[in-house]
Symmetry: C2
Subunit: 460 residues, 2 copies
Amino acid sequence: MSGHQETPAGTPEVTRLLAEWVVELKGADIPAEVRREGLRTFVNWVGCAVGGARHETVDAALRAVAPFSGKADATVLGRPERLDAAHAALLNGITSHVLDYDDTHLKTIIHPAGPVASALLALSEIRPMSGEDFLTALIVGVEVECRIGNSVYPHHYDRGWHITGTAGVFGAAAAIGKVIGLDRQKMQWAFGLAASQSSGLREMFGTMTKSFHPGRAAQNGMMSALLAEAGFDSSERAIEAPRGFATVMSDKQDWNEILGELGTRWESALNSYKPFACGIVIHPAIDGCQQIREEIGERVSDIASVHLTTHPLVLELTGKRSPRTGLEGKFSVFHAAAAALLHGDGAPTAFTDDLVNDASVVDLRDRIDATADATCHEASVTIRVTFKDGSTMDKHIERTIGSSEMPLTDEQIDQKFKVQSALVIGEAATEKLLRLAWRSAELGDIADVARCASERAVAA
Amino acid sequence: MSGHQETPAGTPEVTRLLAEWVVELKGADIPAEVRREGLRTFVNWVGCAVGGARHETVDAALRAVAPFSGKADATVLGRPERLDAAHAALLNGITSHVLDYDDTHLKTIIHPAGPVASALLALSEIRPMSGEDFLTALIVGVEVECRIGNSVYPHHYDRGWHITGTAGVFGAAAAIGKVIGLDRQKMQWAFGLAASQSSGLREMFGTMTKSFHPGRAAQNGMMSALLAEAGFDSSERAIEAPRGFATVMSDKQDWNEILGELGTRWESALNSYKPFACGIVIHPAIDGCQQIREEIGERVSDIASVHLTTHPLVLELTGKRSPRTGLEGKFSVFHAAAAALLHGDGAPTAFTDDLVNDASVVDLRDRIDATADATCHEASVTIRVTFKDGSTMDKHIERTIGSSEMPLTDEQIDQKFKVQSALVIGEAATEKLLRLAWRSAELGDIADVARCASERAVAA
């Protein structure tokens, strides 16, 4: 039966105009600083995809999907297995998100690179493209994804949608559609196919299915563009129609967030990179505890108790008192603070089952408490340490590392890359890969990065 | 970040209890008349899948996905191409729905077989199963799909979700999970993965993406069960959680529709089969016009005008005055009535581009009008024909063919099967396939039906 309803008067032709922008944009139209942030986004993503490659989530996914893989054209970063490009997009989307260590568009909590870079790099192994064209498409995809996210945030997220999946599929469709040269109408169809596959629930957080979302968004976004290319048609107003994405999946629709200042306001340039392998609300506490550790050295063993004053969301989202697994540890500010004080660690190694159950970590964790303070900024924390002799010290973090005011430097991105990648492919291969990834814009064939990311990979 | 919220007190453990029922049910627990309806559902689906196989939608989908296919283990019914089982599920879900000629669970307007049978038959080509086990799993899948649909209908559909896709993915997951023997916990994970892929917008109606929905639901439901089998975990309360499927995607949640009378009330036994290749609201008008044609014979050419008195939904959904394509013809009660009066046709042949633009059809169509009457039942119509000599005749259809009160007989299912299948694989192969499909319950290997359905297929 028909579902056709007229678009309310005054609604702009969002899907058509966005498609037009994607199709017509030239790489040279993108300002240098935006291109630079696109490169940082890609380098950070490569490190995360390699870093997560041996996670049990990836093993389970491979067991299920490998028997269905087509021609083994494409790389699963950090793994010896090869899959067809669509399945490689799925797997790389999973690996890059599974450690909760990837990138964040802070306005929407979208993790932008997972859906977009995973689709693009996999496609590059069957349809060769230069590093320049790759970065242009990556930036376009992230821009589309974050703008669509902005248009429905926060209502959409609050309702329970995992926005990295639901908006990510549009980003992947835009990036692939750009790089394969879809015309405007086919780009609209690609958005229609993406809208009809937009999915992923926050209920899945804490399970393997969370990282499945950016993976499936990458795969489905890629196929949306390839179906449109093959003449598979769809609605041409999928975003703004009365029964389109924005109205069905959100009570808020701000079209200006999608269409306003296209080409001058760059959401993709606002991307940030996690310094720690967990949700961002917990980052100020880790940052502060690491700084305390550096300042007090041996006196860490003299700590009697620790009190955190945090934004209320910290306790709402990460208030778990007694985590039992590494994954649960990501949802315990108490564990994260203890690990940072005792080991200076906020990397994936801070969120292992072993460390979460380590006696000294548990002992300190149980002596940490926290108070929510609505006046505390989300990127801020105040920490009071009381020592066994009754003396105290206070540490105030005004803006945590990785926040928009304190972005990771290139060197910090390098450090983060090395720490996680070396555990999977070794230090020498990591150095080579890191250097190559920074040179992406100069590469004639961006797929070199994918191949390099698995050269030394061995089965987990 | 964590999305965990407590389930409100008093909410039953819907996902766990439904998974338990699926896992523990034995084929012998299903009453004979329910099994018989399951067989009719399957036979009808086979005819539709073969009948739709040469549609341009299928050609476009194959162009895009075939390069990504894995081992060519499975049949695309009615086509010479073979794909891996997951892609075959996608394609068969598309073919079986593309002519709008499939089955309907009237309470929810779900087209149940597309997602479920497409997944199961494709899987049977890589994991052999008997016809008995196949039919048990088919009935279980349809039951799960329709019950989940009931629990959120009509709000969910009214909001804009294409319920055949959104509920269908659960049905496919249940059917595949049943036949591969998932335990209860893994069946819960399969439902979680299905919930995170539940998607499809009504905005896509009138485009190729509409039939993509049952196809993707079949493919994604299959992979949900296979991922769970491989140890890929998910939420264990994906249906009822505060951020689960039913609350995120609907304002109505009636758990009793899912859990009530499990094993005694059979939604799958309420399945109906379309006598005409278009949305069901238009069926009474076609039925009535066919009966008028049979009664007046040659006098059809003496008709001056026709007036229909219909349920209001008929004009809301199929009120298109001047359709230009076969697809648009499905959304024009005026075209459908004219084709039925002039040619006695309501099959896919009534909705071709040629017939919609045929001069005599257009001429009569323009002399047909209609009035909405809120007291008219959805399965009813009153037709007044005025002849050129000023005389009139009235035809009242109390309940149309294919409605719950006037189900298609086995012979009518045969007839419908033959009309569409013969155009694709010829009459002899159609006869053989039809006989085999009715014998499904006796087959040691149900995949024989799939293979038989493509024996004589040639490229479109």
